[in-house]
Subunit: 534 residues, 2 copies
Amino acid sequence: MIVGGVAGGMSAATRLRRLDESAEIVVLERSGHVSFANCGLPYYVGGVITDRQALLLQTPASLKARFGLDVRVNSEVVAIDRAGKTVTVANLADGSRYTESYDALILAPGAAPFVPPIPGAERALTLRNIADVDAMAAAVADRPDRAAVIMGGGFIGVELAENLIHKGFEVTIVELAEQLLAPLDVEMAALVEKKLIANGVRVVTGASVTAIAEDSVTLSDGSTLAAGLVIAAIGVRPETTLAEAAGLELGERGGILVDEHQRTSDPAVFAVGDAVVKRDVISGAQALVPLAGPANRHGRLVADVIAGRAASAKPVLGTAVVGVFGLTAAATGWTEKRARAAGRAIRVIHTHPANHAGYYPGAEGLSLKLVVDAETDAVLGAQGAGGSGVDKRIDVIATAIRGGITASELADLELSYAPQFGSAKDPVNMLGYIAENLRDGLTDTIQWHELDAELARGVQLIDVRTPSEYAAGGIPGAINIPVDDLRDRLDEVADDVIVHCQVGLRGYLAARTLAQSGRRVRNLDGGYRTWARL
Amino acid sequence: MIVGGVAGGMSAATRLRRLDESAEIVVLERSGHVSFANCGLPYYVGGVITDRQALLLQTPASLKARFGLDVRVNSEVVAIDRAGKTVTVANLADGSRYTESYDALILAPGAAPFVPPIPGAERALTLRNIADVDAMAAAVADRPDRAAVIMGGGFIGVELAENLIHKGFEVTIVELAEQLLAPLDVEMAALVEKKLIANGVRVVTGASVTAIAEDSVTLSDGSTLAAGLVIAAIGVRPETTLAEAAGLELGERGGILVDEHQRTSDPAVFAVGDAVVKRDVISGAQALVPLAGPANRHGRLVADVIAGRAASAKPVLGTAVVGVFGLTAAATGWTEKRARAAGRAIRVIHTHPANHAGYYPGAEGLSLKLVVDAETDAVLGAQGAGGSGVDKRIDVIATAIRGGITASELADLELSYAPQFGSAKDPVNMLGYIAENLRDGLTDTIQWHELDAELARGVQLIDVRTPSEYAAGGIPGAINIPVDDLRDRLDEVADDVIVHCQVGLRGYLAARTLAQSGRRVRNLDGGYRTWARL
Ligand SMILES: Cc1cc2nc3c(=O)[nH]c(=O)nc-3n(C[C@H](O)[C@H](O)[C@H](O)COP(=O)(O)OP(=O)(O)OC[C@H]3O[C@@H](n4cnc5c(N)ncnc54)[C@H](O)[C@@H]3O)c2cc1C
Ligand SMILES: Cc1cc2nc3c(=O)[nH]c(=O)nc-3n(C[C@H](O)[C@H](O)[C@H](O)COP(=O)(O)OP(=O)(O)OC[C@H]3O[C@@H](n4cnc5c(N)ncnc54)[C@H](O)[C@@H]3O)c2cc1C
Ligand SMILES: CC(C)(COP(=O)(O)OP(=O)(O)OC[C@H]1O[C@@H](n2cnc3c(N)ncnc32)[C@H](O)[C@@H]1OP(=O)(O)O)[C@@H](O)C(=O)NCCC(=O)NCCS
Ligand SMILES: CC(C)(COP(=O)(O)OP(=O)(O)OC[C@H]1O[C@@H](n2cnc3c(N)ncnc32)[C@H](O)[C@@H]1OP(=O)(O)O)[C@@H](O)C(=O)NCCC(=O)NCCS
């Protein structure tokens, strides 16, 4: 018996059939559809995906034909009787109720979009299932005024912003935090924000919507915004109503508590997907990671466990990616802010490589960030934003984390290279080189957010770029000594000095020269580009 | 003292400067240029890269200014006196000779294109450096007849074929082996061959050029081909003349022998790059891997060793990639043929996934192949051919191999997923699922090259695709029972049966159903597509 017929639930159902031809498998789904592509919904709103049918990967009929599954849509499970091993099902089509018994019960009810308890909240649209997307598509087609406010600048909010721009809306994202996309650090999220703004999206951070009126919203700063369309995309909360009512244990921040076999506190009840608590791969702490990959994987795993196979869930990294107007932003593992909040000693690296050899036409710029455990050299996390190839680098680093490859060892990865695809030293290798140099004390860096305090202390700042780069814009207070002149102008350099260039490479070269002249020197990590968030 | 001023040599020189401001560093380069982009040369021939200057990443002057390097072009080292620690340098510009002494000597002379000893061989052009590319570009611009024969279907041969097509040539590749691209297995290389043919390249395998006349070539089968332009791209041999003359130890199949510190049999002489013997990561055997990544990495490593830092070279996987008319082909580690030749018990998996979610527009097909050690479940190698995203999957698997992640554990990698970038179960995860099923005996497969023998034995073959797919073309001798009908038509199925579908997925489902009915069943790995090389 499976509650919820999409990513986690249906993966469990199909795998269970493959493992056991004779099992009786019933899937109960509250909405009118199963096996749909949640992740494609924003693109249907924007008309990127035009065929609604393409979102429906399977139907009850096709699942019956191929897998012999008993799939019932419009069927809400409203209660679980754990002692009697039955569930009460409400048939939403005709209002009737009935009970069904189970040997094993799998809960895969997902998560519900959070709607803030503010006046007018009932007018806010959310996006989770096919009914939602139909409603939103209709609202998009109907509204004559073309002004939309999206509450929340997470992945879904940002995807919807792009898609509503495609539809000709004036779009404002209102985000309570000081940045968009919490899985990124602020300076990386700034690149996404810049891209959104360049494409006509208005971004308001550090504010929230406090009231929704008929054609406008009020913000926490008292201002109002026209808003024919209001969307709530401020996050999701695990669907735990049913589990809680049944007395199943929940996690610290909500979510159904499960062990590594996805078993709840009741041995006959399993749970997977957005509804459950996962384990963080770095700290082992409880984590809510509402992503499709783990939902699918753990759904399959539950089937294995029920069929008596040895299988256990791994802690999660939370690798995620989003595309915004051609920019890719992706992340895996921990952010700098998270590592600092946890009190870890870390090393941070920013680079701005090209996605492939610069001499081959069409190279696009990337910004990458690596967060490294200063004690163990372990990779804690990575982030990327930029042209194509960001997802590749983040996937490689996610794999490296899983394989226990240290930051310095990234230098030794053998990644495919031809001029259209990468560089002889791939950007990931380069992160490894830099990590090794930091680990070995060959270079010392300073982060963009640490610079002001040092300058206030009176430390000298040298811009080692060319005079024309210096003239075109730099960091206030910097003097200019191009890297190629440095050996001849050592007498102009103070004993304690910070150097910077455009991306960090020439600064590193300068730092090596200066360090060997006995000076204390730090290189501005990521250079002017990270500092200026270019 | 460094012999050779490109990938390996110049990487050593610049790193050494960063480690040691006071070192005297002399780079001796036979050709007229240093630090050039070998890998870009084919694209300059084809006019994809139009700016010749873009190929020259550094010049002696720029390396002097930035790194204080003494770089001498047109300077061939013609002898090494190891006892006296000197080299004899021939100044190719003025014909003079002089000796220079060294404390440490780094040999990075690269490799030389192999030219077959056949009549007319002097007319065959090769491509290794800037002089070569200038000559080839001139020949391309000059020849009025527009017929080109490329001897050798390796990476460079294939890249040149594409580029000569861009230039309007009629191009024939003549390859001695039965397939192009030795780092791929024959059925994967066939996809590249198909792409070349679709774009007008003629491909002749299993033949060689035996003589070159003024406007034609003769093949081993006696036929002749018009050939205004003849190119030798049949491989490279390590440049060991100098090392051999100096009495340095060489490897079994040529190449300078070095230890994990890139030290030759003479402790004061180091060697890196295409000229040296590397270690294979899987067998530990000697290997010649002429790729830019290892050359750059090991160049840097030699500088570390000379500067007294702890560093040692890792064995190589040989990850490589090539782009051909928009198709990407890549490989890492061992091929099936290599593993079989080495007598390993292996499992082989072929899949044909889409590079991203099918419901999002623009999905492109990939063909992936995984070679797995049947005893340990270790990944021995992987290959891919298809649309964009092949390089990503091969890089992820190369990283997994390095991290000791087993084939089944690929299922648990958390790879970035949004509909434009991948699937909730990424193609790499899917390889892991299939590997796990094979490991656990949930499914048994048969390879495309094993099918004929089984059919000859009279084993039943069932095509489980739809009747219309079956009608459109299938494997001779197969009967058709669509997977969705199978449970109702079990009585038509023999006790020993092979099933197949288009790519392997439905065949797997059918195999699970049939296995549970007590039959011996094998699924044709990779389905009709692998069998038919589609
Ligand atoms: C718009 C959008 C975009 C997304 N984009 C991405 C992305 O790009 N990448 C990514 O990794 N993830 C993405 N996700 C998240 C991903 O879709 C989820 O992580 C995944 O679907 C979770 O699977 P699940 O099985 O836990 O829940 P769901 O897939 O949500 O399925 C749960 C189902 O259970 C049903 N249900 C709930 N309660 C009951 C009940 N009592 N009785 C019967 N049925 C019930 C619900 O109706 C629902 O259909 C996106 C999600 C959304 C909404
Ligand atoms: C056309 C082409 C395309 C390629 N494409 C790719 C690709 O896509 N991906 C990839 O990974 N690799 C590719 N490669 C291979 C890559 O370029 C080499 O692996 C790499 O350059 C090897 O570095 P190296 O330092 O050993 O030798 P090289 O870069 O060849 O440098 C050796 C230098 O030493 C000089 N030299 C030799 N003998 C002497 C002497 N006695 N005295 C002074 N100087 C001497 C030579 O003139 C030469 O310039 C390609 C190579 C070519 C030719
Ligand atoms: C559509 C859905 C029912 C498919 O479930 P599924 O059958 O488990 O998944 P797939 O069709 O991808 O097939 C995977 C199975 O085929 C096998 N397989 C795939 N390709 C194969 C091949 N070429 N050869 C052999 N086997 C293959 C895999 O091993 C796996 O089987 P296993 O789990 O027994 O190991 C389910 O994924 C679903 O409901 N998805 C939609 C919801 C969703 O995921 N939303 C979030 C993202 S938008
Ligand atoms: C051009 C060439 C001289 C460059 O050598 P290089 O200086 O070692 O390489 P790069 O310019 O890529 O810089 C790498 C260095 O900068 C550092 N670096 C790179 N980006 C950085 C950043 N953002 N911040 C700090 N340091 C950075 C790296 O750590 C590395 O230094 P290290 O080796 O001391 O650790 C050499 O690669 C060459 O001759 N290449 C052409 C030939 C070739 O490779 N051909 C085959 C492929 S076509």
